[in-house]
């Protein structure tokens, strides 16, 4: 006979397990909507109608993406619904095999490489940077961890884009100056600190550069390190087009320097939709998707930050992924026409990969937009037109 105590313990255990599975980071393995399907060799295709789109409305989206009035310049556009490619188009000399520059798309790629390194035990979020870069053993810098680096919140004095003089941008110097280009991560580690970790969010190329330097030192074997992104991520996903550039010290550049084709990049989105599992194998930690694509960087939600402290950027951000969460200091979400579970990889000249888990959507847009606002694709308008055309789930 089962005693009341045993019954209570069983009940509590059952409740605890239910609680764990109610948390996004635990309710993993694989959402049922994708079935047992992996686009490792190639993406499956569906017609717009089969996937639940209104063709006439979808055409309005295409008219905007490919408009040829001297405004934005789209090079590749791919829409994937529930794992099926429903549209792909190319222009301006690009095709399914022509590699496009990722620009800061590379940051989200780097995020995923670091996630794979954590899964394999090379790093933890609590890894202290000074353990690998003694240059960081100084005031404000000594408590910086990998988590701060991934949240763009280490506190370096770094101006990604100088608002007055673009030629003075730190993002240019760190790549192209003679005292930095040989070992860009070391240059970042020596950079002056302006804030304590988590005190200020500051988007920049420097943090993913440092992340890839930390990984190199953590692996401490150049042969393993230089193969790691392929062994851990690109090869299992068959992202065969990806080029991932390095500096003279063979450190991956991390913040930029990635190249590839749109449908290969979309596989990153599908990996995240599947919470870091590919072909039944866990590539990323169970909690990684939640951390990187659903949790706003703590520096962006700190109370003191919301009360008028100097801000360099007010868009919500996770770990090298842009989020669509409304922050308290903002009146609305960054992309009000898209749901708040949207997360994006974004880069210079209009590079965009949007992932909307609630709709099973992945959108990759590669472009060569200009710098002026009127020369850029309006992402919110693109999402509005896209979601307007999706009749199935309205």
């Amino acid at each position: 006979m089962v005693s009341f105590k045993t019954f209570r313990i069983l009940g509590l255990t059952f409740s605890f397990v239910l609680f764990l599975y109610s948390i996004p980071s635990f309710s993993i393995s694989k959402p049922d909507r994708y079935g047992d399907y992996w686009p490792t060799k190639s993406w499956r295709k569906k017609s717009l109608e089969e996937a639940g789109f209104d063709r006439a409305k979808f055409q309005k989206l295409l008219d905007y993406v490919w408009e040829d009035e001297g405004n934005h310049k789209s090079d590749a556009y791919v829409v994937i619904k529930d794992g099926y490619v429903v549209y792909e188009g190319y222009d301006r000399g690009y095709n399914p095999k022509k590699k496009h520059m990722f620009w800061s798309f590379s940051k989200s790629l780097t995020s995923t490489v670091i996630g794979a390194a954590i899964q394999q035990g090379h790093l933890t979020l609590q890894t202290k940077v000074k353990d690998f870069y003694p240059e960081m053993d100084r005031e404000k810098a000594r408590d910086v961890t990998l988590r701060h680096v991934l949240n763009m919140s280490s506190g370096f004095k770094f101006y990604e884009e100088n608002p007055i003089n673009i030629a003075l941008s730190d993002s240019i110097f760190v790549y192209y100056s003679k005292d930095a280009y040989k070992d860009v991560a070391l240059k970042v580690a020596k950079t002056e600190m302006k804030f304590a970790p988590d005190e200020q969010f500051n988007y920049g190329t420097h943090e993913p550069m440092l992340a890839m330097g930390i990984l190199k030192k953590a692996i401490n074997n150049i042969s393993i390190y230089e193969n790691f992104p392929w062994d851990a991520l690109f090869t299992p996903l068959n992202m065969s087009s990806v080029v991932y550039e390095r500096d003279q010290s063979k450190t991956f550049l991390g913040g930029s320097g990635g190249w590839g084709v749109a449908k290969d990049y979309a596989k990153l989105g599908f990996l995240m939709l599947n919470n870091g599992v590919w072909e039944g194998k866990r590539i990323l930690p169970e909690w990684w998707s939640n951390f990187a694509t659903r949790t706003v960087a703590p520096a962006l939600v700190k109370r003191e930050s919301e009360e008028g402290q100097e801000r360099l950027n007010v868009e919500s951000y996770g770990a090298y992924w842009w989020l669509n969460k409304k922050l308290k200091m903002n009146k609305q979400r960054p992309y009000p026409n898209a749901p708040d579970d949207l997360y994006q990889a974004m880069g210079f000249r209009g590079q965009t990969m949007g992932v909307i888990p609630s709709k099973g959507l992945i959108i990759v847009r590669m472009g060569s937009d200009g710098r002026k606002p009127k020369k850029k694709l309006k992402r919110d308008k693109m999402y509005k037109l896209l979601l307007d055309s999706l009749v199935e789930e309205k």
Binding site: K98, Y176, Y181, Y244, Q248
Partner: protein, 111 residues
């Protein structure tokens, strides 16, 4: 771009760059971007010239298709970006200081 506009852009950029302690950055960036554009993306030189037109106002470049290398010359240095033997690593940059006297022998500094 009209000649007057081009001159104004040149003077403006020259002012920007001369105010900067890293004068090699524009040429280094040009060499690297051209190398990746031509040898990684496999675009035509004509296309790559179009996408790097802002950087080329201050410097020009030379492509060595056999060595898969792009060079750009600055005041007292030369920036070279070379495609890695393993194409998955793309192009990497190298900056070397050179004798200013030899600058006139380099194509990018003739004008």
């Amino acid at each position: 771009m009209k000649p007057l506009s081009k001159t104004l852009v040149f003077i403006t950029l020259l002012g920007f760059v001369s105010s900067c302690k890293y004068t090699e950055a524009p040429s280094a960036g040009l060499a690297k971007e051209m190398c990746s554009c031509i040898f990684v993306s496999e675009q035509t030189e004509q296309y790559c010239r179009m996408v790097t037109k802002e950087a080329r106002i201050l410097s020009d470049f030379e492509v060595d298709y056999n060595r898969k290398e792009v060079s750009a010359r600055g005041v007292n240095f030369r920036a070279m970006a070379k495609m890695d033997a393993n194409p998955r690593y793309g192009c990497s940059l190298k900056i070397v200081e050179v004798d200013p006297e030899s600058a006139k022998d380099y194509p990018g500094n003739e004008r």
